[in-house]
Symmetry: C2
Subunit: 317 residues, 2 copies
């Protein structure tokens, strides 16, 4: 394990791929790795890109990589898609892009899918981003498919978040879910060669006029990704937002809040693990569940009983 | 509080509305209410209805209420929509429907919005459903707007879940997110007077043929809600699925699993509350966060330190 971390920090690509697999597989060694790489992190800039399926995110990300490479920036991409028997989209997009950037040692692209819960996926993505950070990628792009709460949870980890819309996609500004609009630092109106582009931009401006005033007013950028149109503007908007975050001190705030969240999650997951070990060494939860089901007990009083008798018995409080 | 519960159990409508407000406001009394009503619950049948914005769910629910009332079934509806500065959709739909059923004492409709986190909304919805259950509603309909993970979490609490699609809505079967398709016991193809209806049905059948075989093959129902077309078939499909769940024993299994989940959540929230009280009486988490930020410490070792020193000190393990 020490050897793996050493190779990762030295920049060996195979060690990087293996470390991310260890994260994805939820192997117990993962915390050793995360602990050891921690001092080498906090250098990457993280960009979140989200949008409905079919909005052209993959091509956009592709062109953004090319643009970043012109400035000699190294790039890591995590393409996140909840997999299921009915879908395999992320892998396909991944393979297509791999062809274009496969020979570039400064680009690393990886698809992440669910192996279990969606909560697990967003944690695994954050942890994989840390690995890329320790590997000293300048930019990390978190690309997610869809515009629901789980995507919001994933891109929340980004420093700058772009929401990709299309004028023709039926995802007019009004139909986009509450809670999703608010995460965007940049709106990208992709497929801007389609009719309705200007209308979409006007709707966005109106929405921003109506919404709560913030110190950063989200930029609106028009792109036609396959033709490379607007990619420079998109890249500049990212850099401009980064500059804003740095100069205002928000970047420090965001990152502090992120570390705080992480500490809280770590503590809660450890506490919960230990609490259940204590409870289950005394009592069968399935039996208690059956008693509640037969309405001999209720779940609220039962939870208090477990807490007071087995997790934190009176003697140690 | 005892008085409120008594009135609720007697069927007083104002007590019902007040109890749900107490739940929504996260008032500390809510656990007293939930504890006291618990023996009166477990009688309602819970139907979840979800689908993209614009798929016509509200009208469909409206007609479904009317249909259920023909069989003298009492109905409670919780219309769940994450609210935000940019949206107010649920409230509007609510008001329109209120007009139609407002004089019927056996119908109760309530909108639920976020007051904070989305996790909080799904918990509040489950708890409000319990109140309706204790109030002896025959049917409880959980209607959610959208097709993301948070909606899935909400309708997971239902016995029968219907996913509403439209042939014309651009939400073709392929673009629906993984993890959403799998929750449907019934697919409703609404707006079935639009072109593409048969194609959508064929796509659904194909998807079901390809997917994992289950004991229940989801039904596919075509409706034109405003014309009342297909509502009888939709209602029959619900009853048929209910019969399947009862006869196979799955209903008991589902409800047992639900109680188990509830117990687990209750325990974890109490444990976490107590653990943080213990930690914060000893140490400042913000100070620790700053030390981690300055890379003097890492979050993984720090979490272990907190656990071993303050939550479960060696002496009581």
């Amino acid at each position: 394990m020490d050897d793996l971390v050493e190779k990762l920090l030295k920049g060996e690509r195979r060690a990087l791929a293996r470390a991310i697999s260890i994260i994805e597989n939820e192997s117990p060694e993962k915390y050793d790795i995360l602990k050891q790489i921690y001092p080498a992190t906090h250098n990457s800039y993280i960009i979140g890109i989200t949008g409905a399926p079919g909005s052209g995110k993959s091509t956009l990300v592709d062109k953004l990589i090319t643009r970043a490479r012109q400035d000699q920036l190294s790039v890591g991409v995590l393409a996140v898609d909840p997999s299921s028997p009915f879908s395999g989209g992320a892998l396909l997009g991944d393979r297509i892009r791999m062809q274009e950037h496969t020979l570039d040692p400064h680009v690393f692209i990886r698809s992440m899918g669910t192996r279990g819960s969606l909560g697990g996926l967003s944690r695994a993505t954050r942890e994989a981003a840390k690995i890329l950070d320790a590997y000293q990628k300048d930019l990390i792009i978190l690309e997610t498919v869809g515009v629901g709460q789980s995507e919001v949870d994933i891109v929340k980890y980004a420093d700058t978040t772009a929401l990709v819309l299309t004028p023709a996609g039926g995802d007019s500004v009004q139909t986009i879910k509450a809670g999703v609009m608010e995460i965007a630092d940049i709106f990208v109106v992709n497929k801007a060669d389609f009719p309705g582009t200007d209308k979409t931009c006007v709707e966005l401006e109106n929405m921003l006029d109506l919404g709560k005033k913030k110190d950063w007013r989200p930029s609106i950028v028009k792109t036609v990704a396959p033709e490379n149109q607007g990619i420079d503007e998109f890249f500049s908007a990212i850099l401009e937002h980064q500059k804003f975050l740095q100069q205002s001190g928000y970047l420090k705030e965001i990152r502090k809040e992120r570390i705080h969240q992480e500490l809280v999650e770590q503590v809660e997951s450890l506490v919960s693990l230990h609490a259940w070990q204590k409870i289950e060494s005394h009592i069968s939860i399935m039996k208690l569940t059956e008693e509640i089901m037969e309405q001999q007990k209720d779940p609220y009083s039962s939870a208090h009983y477990l807490l007071q008798n087995f997790v934190f018995p009176a003697s140690d409080r």
